[in-house]
């Protein structure tokens, strides 16, 4: 049973990573920096619980805020450029964060052993969960409570005025600007919120694995981050959650029996999926069809109109 709890935790923090890219993608910006914010969250939260002895929850919040601050700072220069230039700028930022932690040493002696991040060796002994006697079921419930809170907030946001503003910027920047929307403010806000969510996810990740190193936060992770919302479609947060469950639960865990061939299959599947469904697995048309399936009310309404 522990295996499934553990898998659910993995899906949990990957969902947070996907949701962090989801809100940025809503404004039409593709950010490959999410793995960098995830790394910042992981290291900050790990250092707070291990070195400063904090409780996990405040440590997570501070980690999220730290990543959000970084996202805000990066947002201003990076959002001067749009589209593909932004992809490259954020990719470079993500790599710069990874290399920063590759060179980051901050160790203090605790009893006999020295603990803390040590460059390429990584950061070991982030053992807050076992030290406080949490079982994997409790950890899983905690992770999914955070996911539910974040997903709920984004779901509500999609229905709010600000959500409409985000989508307006994503659909057509010129039109959005001409109705008086401040593009930079909206994009930087989305980036900041995305950074916060990624920071939360990173904090959970660090405490899940207990050992983090710079290689965990490479381009592959950044790709995962944008792959979830793109595969799941940008219409709803549920698309991202379904995509994270599908990729982590089925492609990564379910196909483990394929051994090394699994990694080959992963890239090939992305290529294939994009050829067959260029607008995501759940695109606008599918979302409408699904909505019609699930709400008979709307279906009847359309029948009447027809």
């Amino acid at each position: 049973m522990d295996f499934y709890y553990s898998l659910a935790q993995i899906i949990g923090f990957h969902t947070l990573l996907g949701l962090s890219a989801y809100i940025v993608l809503q404004t039409g910006q593709v950010s490959l920096a999410q793995a960098g914010f995830f790394a910042i969250g992981a290291y900050v939260a790990g250092m707070l619980t291990v070195l400063a002895g904090w409780h996990l929850v405040p440590a997570m919040l501070v980690a999220g805020l730290g990543a959000a601050l970084m996202a805000c700072l990066v947002g201003f220069p990076a959002l001067r450029v749009r589209g593909l230039m932004l992809v490259i700028a954020t990719l470079a930022f993500g790599e710069a964060v990874r290399l920063f932690f590759f060179n980051f040493d901050y160790q203090i002696a605790k009893g006999e052993v020295k603990i803390g991040p040590l460059g390429g060796e990584g950061f070991r002994q982030i053992r807050w969960f076992p030290e406080n006697g949490w079982t994997s079921l409790e950890v899983m419930l905690f992770v999914w409570t955070v996911v539910a809170l974040v997903a709920g907030a984004l779901w509500w946001n999609d229905r709010s005025r600000f959500g409409a503003v985000l989508r307006a910027v994503g659909e057509d920047e010129v039109a959005a600007q001409s109705v008086g929307i401040n593009l930079t403010a909206v994009k930087v806000t989305a980036m900041t919120i995305g950074g916060f969510i990624a920071g939360l996810g990173g904090a959970i990740y660090a405490h899940y694995t207990t050992h983090i190193e710079h290689l965990n936060f490479n381009v592959l992770l950044a790709t995962f981050a944008i792959a979830y919302p793109i595969l799941g479609g940008l219409r709803s947060v549920f698309g991202t959650i379904v995509a994270a469950i599908f990729v982590q639960g089925f492609l990564v865990e379910g196909l483990r029996f394929l051994g090394d061939w699994r990694n080959l299959l992963f890239g090939a599947l992305i290529v294939l999926a994009m050829n067959l469904r260029p607008h995501g697995l759940i695109d606008a048309a599918t979302a409408r069809r699904l909505a019609r399936l699930f709400s008979r009310e709307q279906w009847r309404g359309e029948q009447r109109r027809a």
Binding site: R82, L84, N218, L264, F266, I270, V271, N275
Partner: protein
């Protein structure tokens, strides 16, 4: 470390920077005609260089055969990338081609890791000779070879683009795809050919990177992709002269940072250089446009 060492580092960097220029040109060429970024380009170029190794290692051909084989293989891979990641995906969805090429990047990486068991492969140098000494400075012979090959490749590309009908068609499609089609140019054929040309250039770059590092490893693909993209942005998306100058610049800066700090930190400063350019000249060195 004295002044002489720093100048020496910059000279070595400039010589090696030509490979970055080639990778940058490849990104820029594809962007020019399709307004798309091919994220798998650098990985494809290295995959081509790996394919070249098949000649001497498995078929018993002489060591020099690795270079033409690498270049040809990279051209073929370029066309395959076009077929799988661009040909059948609607142009109007930029996210889709971005994702498909990233998927291709992961796939190519994994194929390389799989077929070499993740072991670095030795790659022959282009020329083994004594370094050429000029006063206090010296030019590493293998890097000079790399430099000359890359310059020749660039000259051939420029001649192709500006002196042949094919080049004119490519430039026409880049400027006005619809008008070019009205004049009877086949868009798909020109796009495909651009990928082949970019692939051949990438093959030269991949082979030269292998030749100057002395080996190929799957770990190279990531940094080369990032640096090629940085070169493209600093030079201005779609600008070939920009890519050439930016490539030399990044090569020199990288080596200078390595001399000033150390090898693990140098790439951080290269990324910072990109951010400086984004703030100061978001449109790139030679391009007036600051977007898409």
């Amino acid at each position: 470390m004295g002044f002489v060492d720093y100048v020496q580092a910059i000279i070595d960097g400039l010589l090696f920077g030509t490979t970055y220029s080639l990778i940058g040109i490849g990104f820029t060429l594809v962007f020019g005609v399709m307004q798309k970024i091919n994220m798998s380009y650098a990985a494809g170029s290295l995959a081509g260089a790996y394919c070249g190794l098949v000649g001497p290692q498995l078929m018993g051909l002489p060591p020099w055969s690795v270079f033409p084989l690498s270049i040809a293989a990279s051209g073929v891979i370029g066309y395959l990338i076009y077929l799988t990641c661009f040909r059948f995906i609607p142009l109007a969805s930029p996210l889709a081609t971005l994702m498909s090429t990233v998927g291709m990047l992961l796939l190519l990486d994994e194929i390389i890791v799989h077929s070499t068991a993740g072991m670095p492969q030795n790659y022959p140098a282009i020329y083994d000779g004594d370094p050429i000494e000029i006063g206090d400075f010296m030019l590493r012979a293998d890097l000079v070879g790399v430099f000359l090959v890359c310059v020749v490749a660039m000259a051939v590309l420029l001649a192709l683009l500006y002196r042949t009908r094919l080049g004119m068609a490519t430039r026409a499609v880049a400027q006005q795809p619809v008008a070019a089609q009205l004049c009877g140019m086949r868009l798909q054929a020109v796009n495909g050919l651009t990928f082949v040309i970019a692939g051949l250039l990438g093959g030269v770059a991949g082979a030269m990177i292998g030749a100057s590092v002395g080996m190929l490893s799957p770990l190279i693909a990531g940094p080369i992709t990032v640096k090629g993209l940085i070169v493209t942005v600093i030079g201005g998306l779609g600008s070939i002269p920009g890519a050439i100058v930016a490539g030399l610049m990044v090569g020199a800066a990288e080596n200078l940072f390595q001399a000033l700090r150390n090898v693990t930190e140098r790439d951080i400063y290269v990324m910072l250089l990109l951010f400086v350019f984004l703030v100061v000249r978001p449109g790139g060195l030679f391009s007036g446009r600051g977007h898409d």
